[in-house]
Each structure stands twice: as structure tokens, then as C-alpha cells.
């Protein structure tokens, strides 16, 4: 049952092969048995889950069920969930029981999904390995010695370990795509503004975007249908007609034009990954697509620009965590300054502090133009590179990450080495484009992910291409032995 896709489980629920309660209990048992070694969950919410499952069963009985009614899912702990700890992976919010729901949570609840719990993540989504979580690192189910990627590492590992059929993630610089690649699952970061950010604890507001993570592109489509849509509470949420991403996935991709940027296949790319990507593109060509070499000449500057923009925004976004209204407060502060300094000094981990410091520095008097404005200009150049590319091609393909999952501790002492594991993904966030990762092979027993990038609002196309690819391959069906 745990290997089934959301689509299959949905059919099973509708045909009464099993109830949502049975399904939920079965996943909860699996979490109880396997999660101690994976550490994908920060909080498991069995009581709520069982209650929601019973309600779903009533809806199923009445015939009032949608495709996600009764499907167990889990939320990245960055999403505020009313009455449940919403920690964002930080000691700072360890005691934070959210008084309200994120829009993503409300929408998935309304779609009838059953939330099993809250998933582990890098602290405040800052990290690429899940090693910065206050709750300890998540283990990659394919090899417990390696990282699951980050920051949505708990989400990716939970889906890969079959602890849950689908999960939410967020992606600021690759935080859905890179862990999806490391754990051998499918994940999509939509166009900026498609999914509401209300209740999603902000890291870098102009880059953050939520998306689904699941075994298949079709499952991602089903989840995205529920998650996406206009929200008046987020003034960057886009007002546009609702799309049904799960429709038309089987249609032909004949004539699809794929761009392969030379910058994605240069120095630093693991040859196994290079080979696997080429093989995958070969499969897609067989389905009728054509390939064209392109260039994204400012790609190499995406890292430097990102590490100004994201820290600058985060330094401001995280200022509200001051120990006054909620969250961690240092004991016996001797004065106001001490309350601030120690609450924040003790409540945040090292990587979060590093990024707040970088951001504060980049915005401070005398440096603003040289760093923040400069980075915004580079951001424009990168965005323009994509615009030009999409005049010639429909999608861009390449590796999601330059390497497969690495060992714990391998990069955690070297921030730059860690940052480089996102070099193929962050440009997409800077431009606000949709991007996804699909499993396309293995290297030394660890999954390889291929990234597919599309023009604004081309989620349907990305999911379509990925679905057709998954129709002729079985990488996405592989699961780790646990």
C-alpha cells in the first residue's frame, strides 16, 4: 500500500478497497516504526489525522469526495498549522503553537487530505543538507549516512521512505528540487505567486514559493491543483484562472523544444549525473522532443546574487523573532538589549546567524549599492537570460544538483561548498520561474535528479513532460530498502 501513488490510493478509496482510516493508521504505524531512524518528522499528529480520516470516510461515503479526499499527507514545518507546533526547524519556535493556518494548509484540508504531521527541515529553510535543523538531521532513506538535501529534506525523505504519499515543501533557492533529487522523488517549485505565501514562515519573500513533493509528476499535479490559486491575504498572489494540472498529462509531447544550457554541463558536474541526464533526454527525444544547445551567460553569477538577496531579506524577515510576543526568550534578561541579543543569539543556529549577518552587512550604510543594488541588477541579467532562452525553447533541462547526496559533515564546515550544491537551482528562484526535479537514475546507489525549467506559468507543461517521461521509465518507482 505504501508504494502506491496518490492517484492509485485515490482510486482505492473511491472503490472502497480500503478506507481513509485504514490508510491513515497504516501510514502512522509505518512512521512509528521507521521514522526514528530517518527523523523526517518533527511532530506527528495522530489524533488529528484519525479524526480527519474519519471525516474523509464520511465524505467518501456520501460521494462528496475529490481526488485528494482521505489521502494522507504531511506538511513541511514551515507552514503554520493552527493548534500544532510550527517550529520552522528552529529552537526559536520550538514552543510556537500557531494560532492560525497557512493558506496551503487550509486548502489541503479543504481538499480532504489527512495531515499526519509536520516535517523536518533546515532551520528557517536555510540549508541544503538538513543539518541545520534544531531537531537533528534527517537521514537519506537510500543511505542513512548521507544527507537528504535541504531545506525540504524531511518532506523528500518521508516520501522516499514511503512514510507518506505526498508532502509540501518550499523552495527559495532549490529547497524542493535538490532534496527531491537526493531522495529520488518528484517535486515542483511553481511560478512565484502561484501558491499563496500566507502562513508560510518567510525566509526570502521575493524568492520563496511552496510546492508539492511526491512520487510522481501526476501526484504533484493533483497536489498542486489543491495548493495553487489566488489568495487575497497575499498581495503577491496572482489572480488568474485556476488550472487543472492533472488533465491532459497523457497527451503527446511531439515537437517539444528542449534547451540544454552549456553552463549546466560544465566543470564540477559529477560525470555519472551528466550521463544519466543525457540518457533521460534521449528518452524524451524518443517521445518526439527536439534538443537545442543554449546559453544562460550570467548563470555563474546566480550564487553571488542569491547570497546577497536571500540573506538581506532574511535579516529583515527574522527580526520579528525577538522574544517579546512569542517564541524563545532568554532567561532573566538584565535589560532590553540583553533580551534581544541573547534570545536571538541562543534561539538561532549558526547558519541562520551567518545569513542574518551577511544580510545585515549587505544592507548596511555604505554597502547597499555595492551589494544589494548590484545583486538586483544581476538578478535582472539572469532573468533576461531566461527570457531570451524561452524565445527559442519550451523547456530547459539539466541536472538538479552537481552531485548526489553527500555525507553528513562533508560540507557543513564550509558554507561555500554547501552553497555550491544549489548552483543549478537558484537562478530559477531569482527569475521567479517554475522548475521541477524528476528521478532519472542512480550513482553509487544514490538517486539522480533532472531539473526541468519552464517559462512563467508553464507548470502544466513541466508536469506533462515529466509524466510522459515517467510513463516510459521506472526510476520514480524505485524505493529504498528499509
Amino acid at each position: 500500500m505504501h508504494d502506491k501513488t496518490i492517484r492509485e490510493l485515490s482510486d482505492g478509496l473511491k472503490s472502497k478497497a480500503f478506507s481513509s482510516l485504514e490508510l491513515t493508521e497504516s501510514f502512522l504505524k509505518r512512521i512509528e516504526r521507521l521514522d526514528p531512524s530517518i527523523n523526517a518528522f518533527i511532530t506527528v499528529t495522530p489524533e488529528r489525522a484519525l479524526k480527519a480520516a474519519k471525516a474523509a470516510d464520511v465524505a467518501l461515503e456520501k460521494g462528496a469526495a475529490g481526488p485528494l479526499t482521505g489521502i494522507p499527507i504531511a506538511q513541511k514545518d514551515i507552514f503554520c498549522t493552527e493548534g500544532v507546533r510550527s517550529s520552522c526547524g528552529s529552537k526559536m519556535l520550538d514552543q510556537f503553537i500557531s494560532p492560525y493556518n497557512a493558506t496551503v494548509v487550509d486548502r489541503l484540508n479543504a481538499a480532504g487530505t489527512v495531515m499526519l504531521g509536520k516535517l523536518n527541515m533546515d532551520e528557517f529553510a536555510m540549508g541544503s543538507s538538513n543539518e541545520t535543523s534544531f531537531y537533528g538531521p534527517v537521514k537519506n532513506p537510500w543511505n542513512l549516512e548521507t544527507v537528504p538535501g535541504g531545506s525540504s529534506g524531511g518532506s523528500a525523505a518521508a516520501v522516499a521512505a514511503r512514510l507518506v504519499p505526498g508532502a509540501t515543501g518550499t523552495d527559495t533557492g532549490g529547497s524542493i528540487r535538490q532534496p527531491a533529487a537526493f531522495c529520488g522523488i518528484t517535486g515542483i517549485k511553481p511560478t512565484y505567486g502561484l501558491v499563496s505565501r500566507w502562513g508560510m514562515i518567510a525566509f526570502a519573500s521575493s524568492l520563496d514559493q511552496a510546492g508539492p513533493m511526491a512520487k510522481t509528476a501526476e501526484d504533484c499535479a493533483l497536489l498542486l491543483e489543491a495548493m495553487a490559486g489566488f489568495d487575497p491575504k497575499d498581495s503577491t498572489s496572482l489572480e488568474r484562472p485556476k488550472e487543472t494540472y492533472s488533465q491532459g498529462l497523457d497527451e503527446s509531447i511531439e515537437g517539444l523544444r528542449i534547451g540544454l544550457p552549456q553552463e549546466f554541463f560544465g566543470e564540477g558536474l559529477d560525470p555519472d549525473i551528466h550521463q544519466a541526464i543525457q540518457a533521460a533526454i534521449g528518452e524524451i527525444e524518443k517521445l518526439g522532443a527536439t534538443v537545442k544547445a543554449i546559453s544562460l551567460p550570467h548563470m555563474h553569477l546566480s550564487g553571488p546574487a542569491y547570497y546577497v538577496v536571500a540573506p538581506a531579506e532574511c535579516s529583515s524577515n527574522l527580526a520579528r523573532l525577538d522574544g517579546v510576543r512569542y517564541g524563545y526568550r532568554a532567561e532573566n534578561p538584565k535589560d532590553l538589549k540583553d533580551l534581544y541579543m541573547r534570545s536571538r543569539g541562543e534561539g538561532f543556529g549558526a547558519e541562520v546567524k551567518r545569513r542574518i549577518l551577511i544580510g545585515t552587512y549587505a544592507l548596511s550604510a555604505g554597502y547597499y549599492d555595492a551589494y544589494y543594488i548590484k545583486a538586483q541588477k544581476i538578478r535582472r541579467l539572469i532573468s533576461d537570460d531566461f527570457k531570451k532562452a524561452f524565445e527559442e525553447v519550451d523547456v530547459i533541462m539539466g541536472p538538479t544538483s552537481p552531485s548526489v547526496a553527500f555525507q553528513f559533515g562533508e560540507k557543513s564546515q564550509d558554507p561555500i561548498a554547501m552553497y555550491l550544491s544549489d548552483i543549478y537551482t537558484i537562478a530559477v528562484n531569482l527569475a521567479g520561474l517554475p522548475g521541477m526535479s524528476v528521478p532519472v537514475g542512480f550513482s553509487k546507489g544514490l538517486p539522480i535528479g533532472m531539473q526541468i525549467i519552464g517559462n512563467y506559468f508553464s507548470e502544466q507543461r513541466l508536469l506533462h513532460v515529466a509524466h510522459r517521461y515517467q510513463g516510459v521509465t521506472d526510476w520514480h518507482q524505485q524505493s529504498p530498502t528499509l
Partner: protein, 95 residues
Amino acid sequence: MSLTSDEVNRIAFLARLAIDPDKIDAYAKDLSGIMNFIDEMSAVDTEAVPPMAHPLDQAQRLRPDVVTEENQRETFQKIAPKVEAGLYLVPKVLE
């Protein structure tokens, strides 16, 4: 670009982050490394490029002037570290 320990202390104060004095040098080293990585940007001429603050090239959406929120003080203050008489308490602020 390299940051001195003094600069790290100055930024840490601006950001209200207590940093263990033993670790200041390590932070200075890490931050200098990151700033060097960032400095790659300076090699590019961006004189004529307009800054891009946001991926959405759109205008801000506004909302009507309607009161939609009710008093939820009790709910909100349940998660507060220190309250009294409906107020959030902080160590005495001197003006």
C-alpha cells in the same frame, strides 16, 4: 573583501545577535569567505541595468477599507513569554 572581528561585532549588534566572543574570529573568517564569493558580481558591468527587486513585474494589489479582524488577544497571548494586564512585558525601557 575581508571582515574584521570589529565589523562582525558591529553587524551582530545591528542584528541583535549575541555571538560567543570565542567564535567571532570564526564568523569573521566564514563571512569573509562568503563576501569573497559574492564579490564575483563586481566583475560585471551593470551600469545600464535596472535593478530587479521582485520577480513579478506587476502593480501592488490593494484591499478595501473594511474591518475584518476581531479581538483574539487571549489566543495570541497564550503563546507569549511574558504578559500582564493584556500587555507584553519587556525589561524596563528608558527613554
